[in-house]
C-alpha cells in the first residue's frame, strides 16, 4: 500500500516538474522578447514606436484577464492542434505556456523598466546601436529582476499545473483530485500538499541563489 502511494507520488511529482519546467522555459522564450519589444518601442531614447508595443500590451492583458480554468477549456482546440491530444501531461504544457507567457512578459517588463536612462545614454554615446543597448544594458542590468520574476512565474505555474489536473493532465494536482477528493484518501492528500510545499520551497531557494549569484 505505502509502496503504491510512494510510486504514485514520485510519478506525479515528476510530471508536475516536467510541466512547470517546460512552460517556464516557453514563458521566458517568448515572454522576454515581448517585454523587450514593449520597452524598446515605448522608449523615446530607443525605437520610439509606441504604436507597435501598445497593441501587444492589450493582447497580453486580455489573456491575463481570463481565469486559468476557463483558458484551459477555451484552448482545447489549440492544444489538440499543437499536441495532437487535449489530455495528458504533454498536452497541459500548451495552455500552461500560453498563460505563462503574458504573465512573465509583464513581470519582465517591470524589471526592464527600472533601468536608469543614463545607462542607455552612456552606451548610445559610445556609438552603440539600439540593439547593443538591449544586449549590453537592458538584459544584463535587469538580470536579477528577470530571474526573481522567473521564480515567481514557476511557483505560480506549480499551482496552475495542479488545476490542469482537472482536465487529466497528470501531476500532483491530478493525484490529489483523483485519490484525495474523489476517493477521500487523506494520506495521499496530505502527502501531495507536503510535496507541493517542498517543491515551492525548492524553487524559491534556487531562485534566491541564482539572483544572489548574478547580483554580487
Amino acid at each position: 500500500m505505502y509502496r503504491l502511494i510512494t510510486r504514485l507520488i514520485a510519478e506525479s511529482t515528476l510530471q508536475t516538474i516536467e510541466m512547470v519546467a517546460a512552460s517556464s522555459f516557453v514563458a521566458v522564450l517568448f515572454g522576454l522578447p515581448l517585454a523587450v519589444l514593449m520597452i524598446a518601442t515605448r522608449r523615446t531614447d530607443l525605437y520610439d514606436m509606441p504604436w507597435l508595443g501598445r497593441p501587444i500590451g492589450w493582447v497580453i492583458d486580455a489573456i491575463r484577464a481570463i481565469p486559468f480554468i476557463i483558458l484551459l477549456v477555451l484552448l482545447i482546440p489549440v492544444t489538440r492542434f499543437i499536441a495532437g491530444t487535449s489530455l495528458g501531461t504533454f498536452a497541459a504544457i500548451v495552455p500552461l505556456s500560453i498563460a505563462a507567457i503574458p504573465y512573465y512578459a509583464r513581470i519582465a517588463e517591470i524589471s526592464l523598466q527600472e533601468i536608469e536612462p543614463g545607462l542607455i545614454e552612456a552606451v548610445r554615446v559610445m556609438g552603440g546601436t539600439r540593439w547593443m543597448v538591449i544586449r549590453y544594458v537592458l538584459i544584463p542590468e535587469a538580470l536579477p529582476g528577470l530571474l526573481s520574476g522567473l521564480t515567481v512565474t514557476a511557483i505560480t505555474l506549480v499551482g496552475a499545473s495542479a488545476m490542469a489536473g482537472a482536465i487529466g493532465a497528470g501531476g500532483l494536482g491530478d493525484l490529489a483530485i483523483r485519490y484525495g477528493y474523489q476517493r477521500f484518501n487523506v494520506t495521499i492528500m496530505f502527502a501531495v500538499v507536503a510535496v507541493l510545499i517542498l517543491l515551492v520551497g525548492a524553487i524559491q531557494g534556487a531562485g534566491a541563489v541564482a539572483v544572489r549569484a548574478v547580483r554580487r
Binding site: G118, A122, V125, M126, G128, Y136, P140
Partner: protein
C-alpha cells in the same frame, strides 16, 4: 581649422528655448569650462555636441564633419569621436570595472587581446591598477568617476565632454578628479569641455570659460578676464560671487555710503598677474602714508594666470593722487563704502 566649430546653434523643446544662437570655437588641446546656473542650457549644449540631441538650427563641425547633418547610422560612428563623463557615473553594475572600460572598445569592434591590453593601460592611467576585477558598486564615488573617465577616453576620442563630472563628489575628491583631467589634457593633448555650476572648478583649470544664461552665450573668454571685467553685469556677478572676496556680515551691516570721521574706507581692488609678485601694499603705505588692512581676498589661480582680488581697508579717505594711482595700477578699483574703526 579649429577642432570644434559651433555656429548659430539653437535648440527648442516645444515652446521652450533651451539654446539660442550659440556660436563658439574650440582648438585642439584646450580645456573649456561651460558655466551657468541650473536650467541655463549647459546639458542641452553638451548633448548636442555628442549628437544625443538634434539641434533645431545651426551647425556643429567636429573635425570638419557637421553633426547636425548626419544620418542615424553616421551618427553612431561620429559619437565614437566624443567621450562623455557623467555626473552620476552611469556605470554598468552587471560588469566588472575592467569590463566597463572595455565596453566602448567591444562596441567599436576591437579584438579581445587588444582590448585587454588597452584596459590595463587605462586602469594604470587613472590609478586603479588593482581594481579591475571589482564591481562598480564596490568603489567610492571618486573611484567610480575614474572608471567613468577611463571608459570615456578608451577609444581615444578627439573631444572629452564632462557633464557636472565632480558635482556628486566631496571637495577633496573633486580636486583629485580635476587633477586627473588636467593630467590627461597635458599628456594626451586631449581637448576637454567641462560643464559645471561651480565657478571654483572652472577657475582652477579652464583655459577659457563660456557663460550660458537662459540659453544664450553671454561670455566667452579667459577666467581672469571674466573676473576682472564682469563688473555691472548682475548675471555674471551672481555666478562669480563664490570665488570673490566678500565682506563679512558684521562689516556689511555697518557699511555707510558717506565717509565717517576716523573710519575705514573699504575698497575692492583687482590686480593682474604681475601684481601678485610685487609688494603692492607696501608701495601704497609708503607712497601715500596710509595704514592699510587686508579685510578679505588674495591671489588666486585662474587657469594658467594669477589674479589678485581683495578688499582693503584704508585708514584715510582716498586722496586724488591715490585714486589715480589705483586706477592706473589696478584692473578694478571699487569703493564699497565706509565703516567706523575701533580704537
Amino acid at each position: 581649422m579649429s577642432l570644434l566649430d559651433v555656429s548659430g546653434l539653437s535648440c527648442r523643446f516645444g515652446s521652450q528655448t533651451a539654446l539660442s544662437d550659440i556660436s563658439f570655437q574650440v582648438d585642439k588641446g584646450e580645456i573649456i569650462g561651460v558655466i551657468g546656473s541650473s536650467g541655463a542650457g549647459k546639458s542641452t549644449l553638451l548633448r548636442c555636441l555628442c549628437a544625443l540631441e538634434r539641434p533645431t538650427e545651426g551647425q556643429i563641425l567636429l573635425e570638419g564633419a557637421d553633426l547636425t547633418q548626419l544620418t542615424e547610422r553616421e551618427l553612431v560612428a561620429a559619437r565614437r569621436k566624443v567621450g562623455l563623463v557623467f555626473q552620476h557615473f552611469n556605470l554598468l553594475n552587471s560588469r566588472s570595472v575592467a569590463a566597463n572600460i572595455a565596453l566602448p572598445l567591444e562596441i567599436a569592434g576591437w579584438a579581445g587581446g587588444r582590448i585587454t591590453e588597452r584596459v590595463e593601460e587605462l586602469l594604470t592611467l587613472v590609478g586603479l591598477e588593482s581594481h579591475g576585477y571589482k564591481r562598480p558598486s564596490q568603489l567610492s564615488g571618486g573611484q567610480k568617476q575614474r572608471v567613468g573617465i577611463a571608459r570615456a577616453i578608451a577609444n581615444s576620442p578627439s573631444l572629452l565632454l564632462c557633464d557636472e563630472a565632480t558635482s556628486a563628489l566631496d571637495p577633496h575628491t573633486t580636486t583629485s578628479i580635476l587633477d586627473l583631467l588636467v593630467d590627461i589634457n597635458r599628456s594626451l593633448g586631449l581637448t576637454i569641455i567641462l560643464i559645471t555650476h561651480e565657478m571654483e572648478v572652472v577657475r582652477r583649470f579652464a583655459h577659457r570659460v563660456l557663460v550660458l544664461d537662459h540659453g544664450a552665450l553671454i561670455e566667452n573668454g579667459s577666467m581672469a578676464t571674466l573676473m576682472r571685467d564682469s563688473r555691472g553685469d548682475p548675471r555674471l556677478e551672481r555666478l562669480l560671487a563664490d570665488t570673490r572676496p566678500s565682506l563679512p556680515d558684521t562689516l556689511r551691516s555697518q557699511l555707510s555710503t558717506v565717509p565717517l570721521p576716523d573710519g575705514l574706507t573699504l575698497v575692492r581692488v583687482v590686480l593682474g598677474p604681475q601684481a601678485a609678485k610685487t609688494p603692492f601694499l607696501s608701495v601704497l603705505t609708503r607712497r601715500f602714508d596710509q595704514a592699510i588692512t587686508l579685510i578679505q581676498g588674495g591671489t588666486l589661480a585662474c587657469g594658467s594666470e594669477l589674479l589678485t582680488d581683495m578688499i582693503l581697508g584704508f585708514s584715510e579717505p582716498l586722496s586724488e593722487p591715490l585714486i589715480s594711482f589705483l586706477e592706473q595700477e589696478t584692473h578694478v578699483t571699487e569703493v564699497l563704502g565706509y565703516v567706523p574703526a575701533d580704537h
